[in-house]
């Protein structure tokens, strides 16, 4: 084996992974209040319309949001040089919600795109502050940085909630804080393609991000434009998170558990692992969205709530399982 081919999961593994994702995709098209079958798709134009207007956009949204969240998590971990942070818990998503709140306040009828832009701006500010503080904490204490991030996110979330409570906008904030796909229809999710494009951009810069994860000194030593790549990563994380918060709301833990699980078996050479992280995120979000649709059928439980439970359990397993090995 040479340096270029090591660390890649085998072909059989890839095939299984792609088949799983495809199965989830098809499954998501057929799970919902209205019963659909493949036959009815052919015979019933109404059924086809339902798929095109609601189920397909919803499935695509879950796919896009899931992969983008996972990649944003990975990029954030690279920037913070800490495995246990992610945008949805370390202040990026909460800053984004704060931004939408401000935009809603000064310009109530703003288009979704403008809200996303405002959210991206505050997300950028919030994430920059977090990284600035996190870089001053000792890298030898990874849990400290993660803990700091969680509480930092909590404090910003409290500011947003407080403002919303004073302004009687609490309902809105809850919508942004709890990710949900049930409102996704054609025409309501297309902004997520922008997030998808940003993910592709991240894939293109995989090598630089991997070097960045080795730290400032090593990066500069290798001739990398350290500050430039750092800023680039910040923009990707903030923009992706803001888009997802605006369109579907906050979905916790995807950006945290997926990159960690992938790194267990495939390492962190991003050139090889980014596709796995993206696919894993998509599969996790799709699966949890389907659980949310089925667990209290015919009602729906938001995907953010399902992932709050599933993600926290997975995170605890990662956290404590790792400790046992050490």
């Amino acid at each position: 084996m040479t340096a270029a081919t090591i660390g890649r999961p085998g072909f059989a593994f890839q095939a299984i992974a792609i088949a799983t994702l495809a199965a989830l995709f098809v499954g998501s098209l057929f799970v919902g209040v209205t019963n659909l079958s493949i036959r009815s798709l052919v015979s019933d134009p109404e059924a086809l319309r339902l798929v095109m207007v609601s189920r397909l956009p919803r499935t695509l949204a879950a796919l896009l949001a899931g992969s983008a969240l996972a990649i944003a998590g990975l990029v954030m971990q690279t920037l913070a040089r800490n495995r246990f942070v992610e945008p949805a818990t370390a202040g990026t998503a909460q800053s984004a919600a704060l931004g939408i709140l401000v935009v809603t306040l000064v310009w109530p009828n703003a288009a979704l795109g403008w809200k996303a832009a405002g959210a991206a701006a505050t997300a950028l500010a919030g994430t920059s502050l977090f990284l600035m503080l996190a870089h001053r904490l000792p890298p030898t204490q990874p849990f400290l940085v993660a803990l700091f991030g969680l509480v930092y996110g909590g404090v910003i979330g409290a500011v947003a909630t407080f403002l919303a409570w004073r302004l009687d906008l609490l309902q809105y904030v809850e919508v942004w804080m709890t990710g949900e796909f049930s409102g996704i229809l054609r025409g309501r999710y297309e902004l997520l393609w922008v997030a998808g494009a940003l993910v592709a951009l991240a894939l293109w810069t995989a090598d630089r991000l991997t070097i960045l994860s080795m730290g400032r000194d090593a990066s500069i030593g290798l001739g990398l434009n350290y500050a430039g790549v750092l800023r680039f990563g910040l923009v990707i994380v903030s923009a992706v998170t803001a888009l997802i918060v605006v369109v579907v709301g906050t979905i916790p833990f995807v950006g945290l558990v997926v990159p960690n699980i992938v790194s267990r078996f495939a390492g962190e050479n991003l050139r090889h692992t980014l596709p796995w992280v993206a696919g894993g995120g998509a599969a996790l979000v799709l699966a949890c969205d389907m659980i949310g649709r089925l667990i209290r059928f015919p009602y729906e439980v938001p995907v953010g709530t399902v992932l709050g439970v599933v993600g926290a359990v997975l995170f605890l397993i990662l956290l404590l399982g790792r400790n046992r090995n050490d």
Partner: protein, 324 residues
């Protein structure tokens, strides 16, 4: 430290506690009397119920935090950061969910409380005793606690959705503590638990001094660590249940008041720290409510403000501990 400085620190704390007691009393008086208007009997009754709730919650949170921190031999960790109040609310929702078929929701709130308390104590012992005994790295333990409380909150939301899919108000109620919607039936029970708990903690103050040195040292000095720690954890669970049942979760109040109290008295001796923390909590809650209500017009936001301030304090402590 010079000899005089040592002596000063040995003598002064009691004096400071006395001043704090006076300040707490003053805050209570101010809360009861400022801006009295309208039907006096009604207003006074309303205010005294809220005042009692604040005092009970303040003391319960302060004492439970001091005891929990001592068992963990660390001053950053608190019961609510480790998710105990989220656990209480989860138990509450879980019991309603599993027993609603038996008319559980309709029974006396005090029995309700007892059920929640017992479920929560069992879970807390199962979850936290092994963690304490294995002597996790502190930050890992804190992180585990924070994630656990996220998990309990998510589970609570999930269960609430399962119980009533259309209830969107659940989240709202569970996020911040509120002193305006105290259940009067529970006040007496919570007060009794808090008085008993504080008494037990006070009696155990010398054992607590030893426990604060860490489990290894405490065992070396002849403390039956496991039994004592388990007993104290039950005590903490009871106090957390009392305060959470009364007003809801207060994630950072404990941290805020205990670190403030420590700054003020400058000692870790429990004979001083326990009363100092309890008094600080009363000053913060009652004084804060008075100021918010009369000066800033922000009645009802005390819970949020305290959380915000406590969160900032927590971040500052974490940051300082990491930079050291």
């Amino acid at each position: 430290m010079t000899e005089t400085a040592v002596q000063r620190d040995m003598v002064r704390p009691d004096f400071r506690v006395a001043i704090m007691a006076a300040a707490a009393l003053l805050a209570c008086l101010a809360y009861m009397t400022i801006g009295l208007r309208g039907n006096l009997a009604f207003v006074l009754e309303l205010r005294s119920v809220r005042l009692a709730a604040m005092v009970v919650v303040g003391v319960a949170v302060a004492v439970s935090t001091v005891v929990f921190q001592t068992v963990c031999a660390n001053r950053i960790i608190t019961p609510s950061i480790m998710g105990l109040d989220a656990l209480y609310i989860f138990c509450q929702t879980a019991l309603v969910f599993t027993l609603s078929g038996f008319g559980f929701a309709g029974i006396d709130p005090r029995l309700h409380f007892l059920g929640n308390f017992m479920a929560m104590t069992c879970l807390a012992l199962v979850l936290f005793l092994p963690m304490l005994r294995r002597q996790f790295d502190l930050t890992l333990m804190l992180l585990t606690g924070v994630v656990l409380s996220v998990l309990f909150r998510s589970l609570t939301t999930l269960l609430a959705r399962l119980i009533d899919p259309n209830d969107f108000a659940v989240l709202q109620g569970a996020v911040f503590a509120s002193f305006n919607a105290v259940e009067p039936e529970l006040l007496l029970l919570a007060a009794a638990i808090t008085v008993a708990g504080t008494f037990i903690a006070w009696r155990a103050r010398h054992v607590l001094d030893v426990l604060a040195l860490g489990s290894d040292t405490a065992i070396g000095l002849g403390v039956a660590w496991r039994v004592t720690a388990a007993g104290l954890l039950v005590l903490v669970a009871a106090l957390v249940s009392a305060s959470t049942a009364l007003v809801g979760p207060m994630a950072f109040l404990g941290l805020l008041v205990v670190s403030l109290a420590q700054r003020i008295v400058g000692t870790n001796r429990h004979a001083v720290l326990i009363p100092a923390a309890a008094l600080t909590a009363i000053i913060v809650l009652v004084g804060g409510q008075t100021v918010l209500q009369h000066a800033l017009g922000g009645e009802g936001s005390l819970g949020i403000v305290v959380e915000f301030a406590g969160g900032i304090v927590f971040l500052a402590i974490l940051f300082a501990s990491g930079r050291r």
